[in-house]
Amino acid sequence: MLILTCPYCGVAADETELAPGGEAHLTREGPGSDDDAFAGYLFHRENPKGVHFERWRHAMGCGKWFHAARCTVTLEVFGTYAAQVTEPPRAIRDAVSARRPGWRWRDLT
């Protein structure tokens, strides 16, 4: 059972307090998008062995959505950060680099 620290209220929350929200940083494709782009948005997900970025909600706590960067193999948590970004902030990417030099996720490094 994971522990993730909610970046809003600061609570180190048990997984039972949290609701998972799947892969982070998807770009919404609306009307006008072509079928491939829309299918990519709606259906296609990363399934990495290693560094991953996810959405979580502190559902049984402050109710806020946030992001987590963690390793799917070792369960190491590199950091959590606010939901209101379209990609991981520099500090988080540096934290990942410090532990996993040369990491790659989608086109992020």
């Binding site: 994971l2 997984e15 919404r28 559902a59």
Partner: protein, 1003 residues
């Protein structure tokens, strides 16, 4: 035969006799006994029957790893099956029954399977029960179901109380043997908060039994001193009878405490589940002795050598008068020496090793014991009890060299560290060739949130089997914990043990080494699941060479065993059959719990009223007093109908409908979701959430809206009221309120976070009462306070005001097709409004109605219901709701998905009404059949029923359904077969059965 000796037994109190019952017989043991030691002490070696062949079985082990002596313990509401007798403390009045036999343990019909064993090899059921096909349902399946499982489940509701206990601590030490005590002491002395748990009911582990000396004193004295010191420290918690069941991500540990297994009146829970978060976990879980694989190694009287020693030293019980020792290592000589010193006969020590040189064998030799090097057991003689052993050369094929009469055999194939907990959360193992076991690889520990290992092993659990090595390993483990947690060591110095040196063991995976098929078919690897050497070889031969496949094909290591006794021996046989080394074969996955835990402990307090809290509306008590039949909707309870004296449910529903249609009905609509959306961008936000345009709604008006998920499917519906320029109130379905609130928050927080919108779920702030029927306005006017005329409050309008002096908001919306007002009032005043409506409307025929009347009336009007007409694959266009989908908006959630080719396919099933030719009610969920069959040979279908009711208004059955190109086919007749195959014919009609022009609601 097993006996209780006249002296000895460090754990028992011979002055306190405990009476208990076993298989209906009155028995007696001593305080401190386990059920197994008491039975052995009473000469009861036969303790159960094996699972598959029903072979007679006795106890093999002295701890929870026991595979054979599984008992049903307790009676009635306190009955628990599959309890391991050596881990069940005896108490006065305990009632136990053995398992897997009929009619009795001694005379068991199922034992015929032993004679059939050659026809029941591994996987026989995959091969046998496939033909003839018709036999499956009536012959094979009932037979397999009766044979499956071990003990019988309890038949009564559990009488006991259970609880969960949540705790955070720096360090948990699992195992109260000398390694665990050492690690706990060193961690605690350094100032860390420590929880030390031990599954047994005493501290000290094996060391006191094995005669270990620590710091110059007998182990027991050191154990007593250390426990006393720990107990005196404020930063230490000690718990006996508490088993670590599983280790999970990020330092989470579940531990199972058997608090009060004997009935008592203290009010203590029976079991307590500890939910622990630890910064570091030390597993000092010891090691388990391995059996040896020789023919008939399952006959009662064959036991693990360490267990024989335990019963002798701990309980003063000997499994026999004449015990043959069979071993591949020095440790088993301790058993020989202990038996000899207790005055029992040890006719021979059969040692598979050709050369024997250690200090313990030397001691045995000096005591005059016979040691037979390079020797093995060809076969154990005896049926329900060992009568002797036939010996052979270990390197040979089993030719008998000698026979020895005996009534017990103590076997030892070496010891394997208990690696289960280490492995639960991903800790990796390495093969230790010298000791012939897998042990934890400290460089590949389970990792925590900081990316570092959070489990450390100590003592025999690390593979440090001898006491001296175990103590230094425990000290090193404590050091690693202190370093990881930046803690400085305290003053205590690590203890030292004094033990004789031991010569290396010789791996023995089969005895004798070149045993033929006859012998292999009688060598048990897994006693509990009746898996033999021949079965594992067969699995490999048939291609199940992966260890996980072989496990499932043979059932090796399943059930309560979980690899405790059977694992390494089975892997070795599989490796040999594959021609691989053991590490290449690997192990199966170790999964929690380490030892089975009770269902009650998992549930904890979450049972009965606390299982799922019930949500009650402000009118709940009134409903209850008026004969409400409850319908669960989400966590709410809503009245399905109100039963009057002597009335049937159908009659009550019909009465409520007819009265509402002709007079006036009241519905408690308080459970409907009420979500306020407010802010300068509220309209823009709702335009994205609903398929219709909400931003154009005028203040004072209401609009019915549909909400879709991003993949286009209809997820909720409800009426939206615009309360002010920047404020909307969104009604949701009863079950959807929390989900829709979360859905709104998700999009607001994660996609449109710059929009100025705030959301609040006010569902429980208001009681909401629907006043429905042609006399609704008359009734409300009697309460007085506001103008509810057609002009002042037209259909789909809302107004604030007072009614009967109560502050209300009145919505003129209708889900029944009648003149209808939904009146919201602060929750605390809901009952007052309800009572006023009932008293003022008595002469108007006012009558409450329940959810079933609501459903029928909405179906009469062709209104859809989320969950009936929708199932997560239905889009609004399927339901003829195009009028509620804005054509002007560029975007809304689901719009893009609804443009996908499959969604715009004219062949989609679409909503229609259905009328049976006979006027009967269509069966729920019935399918309309089409001509021909599909690719699977099944009858093709062309539609299905989504809602079906008897309409008292129309006095006939009405239904709605989704039908292939439905609206184009009005007037066609479809055939719906019932479950028994008889057809029901129904005509496709408009889904609006009642007042199609909508005149009644707009008066």
């Amino acid at each position: 035969m097993s006996i209780r000796l006249n002296s000895g037994g460090r754990r028992i109190d011979r002055d306190r006799v405990l009476r208990y019952r076993f298989n209906g017989r009155d028995m007696a043991g001593f305080a401190g006994d386990t059920l197994a030691s008491a039975l052995l002490g009473a000469g009861q070696t036969l303790m159960g029957r094996s699972f598959k062949y029903h072979r007679p079985r006795g106890v093999v082990a002295s701890g929870p790893e026991e595979p054979n002596a599984l008992m049903g313990v307790g009676e009635g509401a306190r009955f628990e099956p599959n309890q391991r007798a050596p881990a069940t403390p005896l108490h006065e009045g305990l009632v136990a029954v053995s398992q897997n036999h009929w009619p009795s343990l001694e005379r068991d019909v199922g034992a015929v399977n032993t004679a059939l064993a050659r026809f029941l090899p591994a996987g026989f059921y995959y091969k046998t029960f496939t033909w003839p096909r018709a036999f499956w349902k009536h012959v094979y399946e009932p037979f397999i179901r009766r044979s499956a499982g071990l003990g019988r489940p309890p038949e009564e509701a559990d009488a006991d109380r259970y609880e969960h206990f949540n705790i955070r601590t720096d360090v948990v030490v699992i195992g109260g043997g000398i390694a665990g005590l050492t690690a706990a002491r060193l961690a605690a002395e350094a100032g860390l908060e420590v929880l030390l748990i031990e599954q047994d009911t005493i501290w000290g582990g094996r060391a006191p039994v094995d005669g270990v000396e620590i710091d110059g004193n007998p182990a027991q004295a050191w154990v007593d001193d250390t426990v006393a010191a720990l107990a005196a420290m404020p930063n230490v918690r000690l718990r006996l009878g508490t088993m670590a069941a599983g280790i999970y991500d990020h330092g989470y540990l579940l531990a199972y405490e058997r608090v009060a297994d004997r009935p008592d009146s203290s009010g203590a829970p029976r079991h307590r589940l500890w939910r622990v978060r630890a910064r570091r976990i030390v597993t000092a879980t010891g090691a388990i002795e391995r059996p040896l694989s020789f023919a008939c190694n399952d006959v009662p009287g064959v036991m693990l050598a360490g267990a024989v020693r335990d019963y002798l030293v701990d309980y003063g019980v000997s499994p026999g008068d004449r015990t043959v020792i069979v071993t591949n290592n020095d440790d088993a000589y301790r058993t020989a020496i202990a038996l000899h010193r207790a005055g029992l006969s040890v006719p021979a020590i059969v040692d598979a090793r050709p050369e024997i040189a250690g200090a313990l064998p030397e001691e045995a030799r000096q005591l005059g014991l016979t040691i037979l090097p390079g020797t093995g057991i060809a076969k154990v003689k005896g049926g329900r009890q060992v009568t002797g052993v036939a010996l052979c050369q270990q390197g040979g094929d089993g030719a008998v060299t000698q026979e020895i009469a005996c009534d017990a055999v103590a076997m030892s194939g070496g010891w394997s560290p208990v690696v289960h907990l280490w492995s639960h959360c991903g800790g990796k193992l390495i093969w230790d060739a010298e000791q012939a076991h897998f042990r934890p690889d400290p460089d590949r520990a389970p990792t925590g949130a900081d990316g570092r290992g959070f489990v450390v092993t100590a003592g025999a659990a690390s593979g440090a089997l001898r006491a001296d090595a175990a103590l230094s390993d425990a000290a090193a483990a404590a050091d690693r914990v202190l370093t990881a947690l930046d803690q400085t060591a305290g003053d205590a110095s690590p203890p030292r043990a004094d033990v004789p040196s031991e010569a290396p063991l010789a791996p023995v995976w089969m005895m004798p080494q070149r045993a033929g098929a006859d012998l292999r078919a009688k060598m048990w690897l897994d006693f509990q699941n009746d898996v033999k050497v021949s079965d594992v070889r067969l699995a490999a031969q048939e291609g199940f060479t992966s260890v996980e496949h072989a496990k499932r094909y043979t059932t090796l290591g399943m059930a309560t065993d979980q690899g405790k006794l059977s694992n390494i021996n089975g892997l070795a046989v599989l490796a040999d059959a594959r021609g691989d080394a053991i590490p290449q074969v690997g192990t199966t996955t170790f999964r929690p719990p380490y030892v089975p835990i009770s269902m009650g402990s998992i549930a904890g307090e979450a049972r009965g009223d606390l299982f799922q809290p019930i949500r009650r509306t402000p009118l709940h008590d009134w409903h209850e007093g008026q004969g409400a039949r409850w319908e669960p909707v989400g966590q709410w309870r809503r009245p399905y109908t109100y039963l009057r004296e002597g009335e049937g449910v159908k009659d009550a529903v019909n009465r409520e409908i007819l009265n509402t249609r002709s007079n006036v009905g009241l519905l408690d609509a308080s459970t409907l979701g009420k979500i306020v959306v407010k802010g300068p961008d509220a309209g823009r936000f709702l335009d994205m959430l609903y398929t219709n345009m909400m931003s154009t709604l005028k203040v004072g008006r209401c609009r019915y809206g549909l909400m879709c998920s991003e993949n286009g499917f209809l997820m909720d519906d409800g009426v939206v009221a615009r309360l002010s320029e920047d404020t909307f109130l969104c009604h949701t379905t009863t079950g959807g309120a929390d989900r829709i609130h979360a859905h709104m928050e998700e999009w607001l927080q994660t996609e449109w976070w710059t929009w100025k919108v705030w959301i609040a779920n006010l569902t429980e702030h208001y009681a909401q009462i629907a006043v429905v029927g042609p006399k609704a306005r008359t009734l409300l006017e009697r309460l007085g306070g506001m103008d509810l005329s057609r002009d002042a409050l037209p259909f789909m309008g809302w107004a604030d005001g007072t009614l009967g002096g109560l502050p209300v908001r009145v919505y003129r919306i209708s889900f029944s097709g009648e003149l209808s007002y939904e009146i919201a009032v602060p929750a605390g005043q809901g009952r007052a409004l309800w009572d006023r409506l009932l008293s003022e409307g008595a002469d108007l025929g006012v009558m409450p109605y329940g959810t079933e009347a609501l459903h029928v009336m909405r179906a009469e009007k062709g209104f859809i219901m989320i969950g009936d007409e929708t199932d997560g694959t239905v889009i609004p266009q399927d339901l003829g709701l195009d009028w509620a989908i804005s054509k002007k908006k560029d975007d809304y959630l689901g719009k893009r998905a609804q443009a996908r080719p499959h969604m715009t396919d004219p062949d989609r099933w679409t909503l229609v009404g259905l009328e049976t030719e006979s006027g009967a009610v269509l069966p729920e969920g019935a399918y309309a059949v089409a001509e021909g069959t599909n690719a699977n040979g099944q009858r093709r279908t062309q539609g299905r029923v989504t809602s079906t009711y008897y309409s008292p208004t129309l006095d006939r059955g009405i239904a709605m359904g989704l039908v292939w190109r439905g609206p184009e086919r009005l007037g066609e007749v479809l055939t719906f077969p019932k479950v028994d195959g008889t057809p029901v014919r129904a005509r496709i009609v408009s889904p609006v059965f009642y007042d199609p022009k909508g005149e009644k609601q707009d008066v």
